[in-house]
């Protein structure tokens, strides 16, 4: 964690030949979710990219403040559910009608009502699994290390702290970003740098 030393060359002991270019973040803490919402919106309007908020629970209106588009999960889940239904129905059809038909009291081999329960269950299974695993693929989790964890006060982000982080692009002075964030009411601003592991 480095405070108040923005824009310095990587100083963690690795030589210039290692090719490691640490990502730099400006992290600001806010007193409550309302202050965070306002600051996020203003920072975005000021033209800062790569904004992210870190809160202990979902804050209402944060999607709009961050300027996020529609969530992608619903489409993924729909695809998963449709795939599950198709797989189940064709599986039963193949096994009980095509590959190994058994004549039970001359009932029809292809009997849709008896195929519906499993079709339904597999639609739920694949839809639900894609809601879960699709989420982790979208969010790129698990990601045990992230530069924001470098800040010691960041532990409050899952307890009662409200944070706004900005990834500083190469060639920009993090101090400028920090000044903007302080201007929008952040109580504590720090510049953090990814460490090489």
């Amino acid at each position: 964690m480095s405070q108040g030393q923005p824009g310095q060359a990587p100083g963690h002991g690795h030589g210039p030949g290692s090719g490691f270019r640490p990502r730099r973040f400006v992290l600001g803490q806010f007193t409550d979710s309302d202050a965070l919402l306002v600051a996020t919106r203003k920072m975005r309007e000021l033209g800062h990219k790569q904004l992210d908020t870190h809160t202990p629970y979902p804050v209402h209106g944060i999607e709009a403040a961050l300027g996020l588009g529609r969530a992608k999960i619903p489409t993924i889940v729909l695809m998963g559910a449709i795939a599950g239904a198709c797989i189940a129905y064709s599986m039963i059809y193949y096994m009980n009608v095509f590959d190994f038909p058994i004549n039970v009291a001359n009932r029809p081999q292809h009997s849709p009502p008896s195929m519906l329960p499993i079709t339904f269950e597999l639609a739920i299974l694949l839809g639900g699994s894609s809601a879960f695993f699709g989420l982790f693929m979208l969010l790129k989790l698990p990601e045990p290390y992230h530069p924001v964890f470098e800040a010691r006060s960041f532990a409050r982000a899952s307890i009662d702290g409200f944070f706004l982080s900005v990834e500083v692009p190469a060639g920009t002075d993090p101090a400028d970003v920090a000044v903007d964030m302080r201007g929008f009411g952040s109580t504590e601003v720090q510049v953090i740098e990814e460490s090489e592991r």
Binding site: S33, T40, T53, H54, T55, P56, Y57, P58, V59, I62, E63, A65, L66, L68, A71, K72, I73, P74, V77, A81, M91, I92, M95, N96, D99, F100, I102, V104, R107, S111, S114, P117, I118, F120, E121, L122, I124, L125, G127, G128, S129, A131, F132, L135, L138, L139, L141, P142, E143, P144, Y145, H146, V148, F149, F154, A155, A157, S158, I159, D160
Partner: protein, 471 residues
């Protein structure tokens, strides 16, 4: 709890017009964090160890029963012909039903935007998982040769070239229950991730920090993540809701699609689902009443939560009663002598009549006590009533399965059924397994979804502020 200030919010108000509180005392995010995770960081007390010891004894019974069954074969059970299904299926249906309350609380009440679900959903979801684990033991072991069950039940391409018969409700059930377990597990874990991150960040020792950190998967409360996370959670709830209805419906098809008097009834699917929720809420109460006391959760699991659960027990109890009435009415109205004999002679006056009357007492009479607010808000009354409901629902499954099987069309086929010690030890053993898993859960995982309670607190505080500012 030191943070509960009676001056700001009275814990119990005697004024019936005063709305009961969902979160008591003046709480902040930090105080909730401390109080809800307190039981995870604290060393378990004597009570926990005592209960854990008893639970382990139960677990031993399960292992003895299962080992003996695998060694001797299903002949060690009391099953006979015609009672080919007995404790195995009774206990399976009973446990699956208990699990249903968890999904109802976490999914259906979420979709209905019932705020009171927040403090009890984690607890009930964990119960779902453990109840389904207990339930799954029975169908697996009742096949007699569980190592063959894979290709009897799952469409696995064996060298025999035989596939399962998908027109059988038994195969439907394999898919329904395994889907139910998987989705419940994913839903539970997804809801747990933000809390695991809080545990990681509030842990004192590096080892605990690392262990909870691994399970938290690097969650950093990112706004971009929350945006997708909320959808994922909501959709899992949306998918779980029809799933939970389908699972017990399919379980009831075991019986309803056969032609046996006492089983061949169209009321079974809704009546099974209502009975499942009924017994599940009773099981949640059985555990919640002591747990909220011992874990210091009284400020988030308030009397309002308990009272609401009692109301659900009353409502579902009435639905179950309606199911009983309809069964009897149709048995008489159909004019079918076998149906009539089953419902009005065999069950009421046959060898298993005590089980029938115990069922009527526990499931029809006992819940009526919850018409009274005094009973709904009395801890000893609700606890005893909840246990009686669990007993009653077990009797219901016994009554459906054993009583219907032991006397069907031909008197020459009639046979009395008696469970053996192996039956009892496996049944009591699953209660031991359930308790063991549940006590471990209470020790290592926050019993209340702290993230959701904080969100609810924020919502309530905002409403109050908004009301003062604009109203």
């Amino acid at each position: 709890m030191a943070s509960t200030s009676p001056a700001l919010a009275p814990a119990t108000s005697n004024d019936p017009l005063e709305p009961a509180l969902l979160i008591e005392g003046a709480q902040t995010d930090a105080s909730l964090n401390d109080s809800l995770f307190g039981h995870v960081w604290a060393l378990p007390g004597k009570g926990w160890w005592g209960l854990f010891g008893i639970a382990l004894m139960g677990l031993t019974l399960l292992l003895v029963g299962l080992t003996y069954t695998l060694y001797k074969g299903i002949g060690a059970w009391g099953n006979n012909i015609p009672v080919g299904w007995a404790f195995g299926i009774i206990n399976f249906v009973w446990w699956i039903g208990i699990g249903h309350a968890g999904t109802l609380i976490s999914a259906i009440l979420l979709l209905l935007q019932q705020k009171w679900r927040t403090s009890i959903n984690r607890f009930a979801e964990a119960m779902t998982l453990f109840a389904v684990i207990c339930a799954l033991i029975f169908p697996l072991i009742h096949t007699g040769r569980p190592w063959f069950a894979a290709y009897w039940l799952l469409p696995y391409p064996s060298v025999n070239g035989i596939w399962p018969q998908f027109k059988s409700p038994l195969v439907w059930d394999v898919f329904a229950v395994s889907t139910y377990f998987t989705i419940s597990l994913l839903f539970w874990f997804l809801g747990l991730i933000p809390d695991l991150a809080s545990l990681r960040d509030s842990s004192k020792s590096p080892t605990k920090r690392m262990i909870y950190g691994i399970f938290a998967m690097g969650w950093r409360g990112s706004g971009r993540h929350w945006a997708e996370y909320k959808w994922s959670y909501l959709l899992l709830a949306g998918l779980s809701t029809p799933l939970v209805l389908s699972v017990h419906t399919i379980v009831s098809f075991y019986f309803a699609v056969s032609v046996l008097p006492g089983w061949h009834t169209t009321v079974f699917p809704p009546y099974f689902v209502a009975g499942a929720v009924f017994s599940g809420f009773a099981m949640v109460l059985t555990w919640m009443v002591p747990a909220r006391h011992f874990l210091g959760l009284k400020h988030v699991v308030t009397m309002k939560h308990l009272e609401n659960m009692n109301k659900v027990i009353l409502a579902t109890g009435l639905m179950v009663t309606y199911g009983y009435v309809m069964e009897h009415f149709i048995a008489w109205y159909s004019g079918n002598p076998y149906e009539f004999a089953m419902f009005f002679k065999v069950r009421q006056r046959g060898p298993f009549a005590p089980v029938y009357w115990l069922m009527i007492f526990c499931n029809v009479v006992v819940p009526q006590i919850f018409w009274s607010k005094k009973a709904r808000t009395s801890l000893p009354i609700m606890w005893i009533a909840a246990i009686l409901v669990n007993v009653g629902m077990w009797c219901e499954r016994f009554n459906i399965i054993v009583t219907a099987l032991h006397r069907d069309f031909l008197p020459s086929k009639w046979e009395i059924y008696a469970p053996t010690w192996v039956d009892w030890s496996i049944y009591l053993g699953t209660i031991g397994l359930f308790s063991t898993l549940f006590l471990l859960f209470l020790k290592f995982v926050p019993a209340v979804a702290a993230t959701e309670v904080k969100e609810l607190r924020h919502e309530i505080a905002h409403h109050a502020e908004g009301g003062e500012a604009h109203g």
